[in-house]
Symmetry: C2
Subunit: 427 residues, 2 copies
């Protein structure tokens, strides 16, 4: 497709609410100038769209693009390796030494090419991405992601304490580099935006956090960080910021929470912290695979949803091994069942429909009107061939979609992918 | 390969103990008449093997075949669908209606062709398989599995209570059909053996269980069933068999435990039951994905290993959605970390090496000398191309293998597969 106005004809499926998925067979989803105009039966297609090119998706499933709202690009290099520690030890043993390599642009070129290629071919249409402290490598990552056609927020990481020498900045230099980076990338990309990225409270002094709060206001940029992932981390923050009534308050004090902020994990958020996240409209990135593999725990996603927090899914590569949002959905459902079993039977497990909602609408709303085939939404779409997931009897479209949620990472083939109406090259 | 004597040259990796994996690069694993003769450096290859054909596996990983010691063939039809109930409701809502279809041989032919095809192309070399109560369909399943070249135990299920009319047998008819089936299949297959399959205590009266104990002795066949999977199930067995001091005793009383028995799950085994499993040498099939998706819980595998029980892995399709033993390994590691977090910090999480051991040697030993590249072991081997799991720097062979344990189901390509020296067609 070279035009950004067209019709996708097929089995169009999307979340009409947090709990309901519409599955309309053989209908037409209309994209006009990159935006969805709506879904119609072929016979009812308004005249205005009758002349648009039609992409016939046959019996494939057509679903909204997925949105990975927490992923570390430099950690993709060691995904699936070194999954034998808890958070702080894991950072010191595997993550920081890997991230230090990105000072070398040759290495970054090799690594980020692989990351961008694999993300492009994955079901992810939009992503919120950590880089490293290195501005040149982060610029390179932004170039690579821009070239994929995906939409992303990318962050140069800030760290001015508790990091190895190879990866620590002075507070002033960190703030200054961030300002220069923001100046430099302003207006440079169509689909790639900078995002402020204090790694997490243990890595960032109050002084730098305060500077970042000013930068946020000055440049009007969104923010991403980590929050209440691991018990030792939470205890450490209590020592580092004795003035903060909860971990979240250590960000809020500097104006770093809000509807344009993503906080990853929130496994151990207190009632107070949940209230803070709700009041500020801060997004929670739920990362079930990472939270299992780093033995962190399981976030109470049901409670966050019930209380009206904004929640999406993250793969959190390389705390999570898999870049697949199919796998993130499957893991989110499984983890919620184990949490129900072990922690709190008041909180019902997530359904597959809710997992799909989280992966599409939940995280998508961080980017605007994203995640549905409804009028005014950006036209992000995946055409999914699930024919390798064979069955001896005919399955309904909802059954096929449910199966993809659980088995898509190993059995579904992505045949076409559109982001805001632009087709992504899957080769 | 048409010969069953040959040399595989490549990166040969296998578990030398429960915790240690040998990874020898560019060496030769020798297969003579289907049995492993050992592993040598090319330069040290004994003269006796110098004339054997050499399969050069290049840079691929060569690992032992995997053994799925608990899988339900008829449930493969609805894998990944209907994962929203606990065990008993799930059986009544989804499983029993599906299994009732296998009275129809046309349906069974379609369904079991898909199951056998997909198992053949998977990393599984040997499997312990549930059928349904239907003898003709179970015979058909045995034919299909025999044709794959894999080694399997296959069971006609026994159920004489608490099942829908379409799926329940009278006690006498169940025992008689089992005898006829065992007579009929005796000596009929090279690689496929019958296994006694009382579904689980709630489905089988004491009277039929007693008959099965006799049949077991008379025919000298192994046994598979379910044990202590779910809290309601355990409570129900307490009501059904008030005479049994633990659930396991309800099998043991009829002579159904022992070194040729696999009991699936054992999530809630009491100390007494663990003692019984150990004393009898009964195998535990650990099925982490199923235990999460049916909200059953997490089995204390570390404890079983520490106490010297025999343990292997099962996919338990369709309690588990995925037939992939890669996924079973990854889930076993993740589940053990969550159990450590939520239940018992005395029990260390499983390592990837231990997951590999469970998938190869742990379950393999149920079939004899299976699961290692050591002298006298059956030569089961997988040649795994992991080149799609790209990295920006050279990874060691152990790192590549660890990554496959976590990401094999979505990123590793099986290029050759051998079972007892016989090459399996992967087309």
């Amino acid at each position: 497709m070279t035009s950004d106005s067209f019709v996708l004809k097929g089995n169009i499926c999307w979340s009409t609410s947090q709990t309901e998925v519409a599955c309309e067979e053989g209908v037409c989803a209309v994209c006009v100038g990159g935006t969805c105009a709506g879904v119609w039966d072929a016979a009812d297609l308004p005249d205005a769209y009758a002349g648009l090119p039609v992409v016939d998706c046959g019996d494939a499933l057509v679903i909204p693009g997925m949105n990975d709202i927490h992923v570390h690009a430099p950690q993709y290099a060691f995904r699936g390796i070194g999954m034998d520690r808890e958070l702080i030890e894991w950072l010191n043993t595997y993550t920081f030494p890997e991230e230090a390599r990105y000072r070398d642009l040759t290495y970054a070129e090799r690594a980020y090419s692989i990351f961008a290629d694999d993300l492009r071919r994955s079901p992810t249409c939009r992503a919120v991405v950590f880089g490293t402290i290195h501005v040149p490598a982060t610029r390179l990552l932004m170039d690579k992601l821009e070239a994929t056609g995906l939409v992303s927020y990318v962050g140069k990481v800030n760290m001015d304490r508790n990091a190895p020498l190879s990866l620590v900045e002075t507070s002033g230099a960190s703030a200054a580099a961030t300002r220069r980076w923001l100046d430099d990338v302003a207006g440079r990309y169509e689909r790639t935006r900078p995002i402020l990225t204090p790694r997490f409270t243990p890595s960032v002094t109050d002084g730098l956090m305060k500077d970042l709060g000013w930068i946020r206001e000055e440049f009007d940029v969104p923010v991403q960080s980590h929050l209440s992932e691991n018990l030792s981390e939470v205890a450490w923050v209590r020592e580092l910021c004795p003035w903060a009534s909860c971990y979240g308050a250590a960000y809020d004090r500097f104006g770093l929470l809000g509807p344009h902020t993503v906080m990853a994990h929130c496994v151990y958020s207190s009632d107070e912290e949940m209230g803070l996240l709700r009041r500020t409209g801060t997004y929670v990135a739920h990362c079930p695979q990472s939270n299992a593999q780093l033995a962190s725990g399981i976030a109470p996603v049901r409670r966050y949803l019930d209380e009206g927090l904004s929640v999406g899914l993250g793969t959190d590569v390389a705390g999570g091994a898999s870049l697949s949002m199919w796998r993130a959905m499957s893991d989110a459902v499984a983890a919620s069942k184990l949490r129900w079993r072990f922690v709190d039977q008041e909180l019902a497990p997530l359904t597959w429909q809710e997992a799909l909602w989280l992966a599409t609408v939940g995280g998508g709303s961080f980017f605007g009107f994203v995640g549905k085939f409804e009028e005014g939404y950006d036209f992000d779409a995946l055409v999914v061939d699930d024919s390798a997931l064979r069955a001896p009897r005919e399955l309904s479209v909802p059954e096929r979609l449910e199966r993809c949620v659980h088995l898509g990472s190993e059995g579904a083939r992505l045949v076409r992918k559109f982001v805001a109406g632009r087709e992504i090259d899957l080769a």
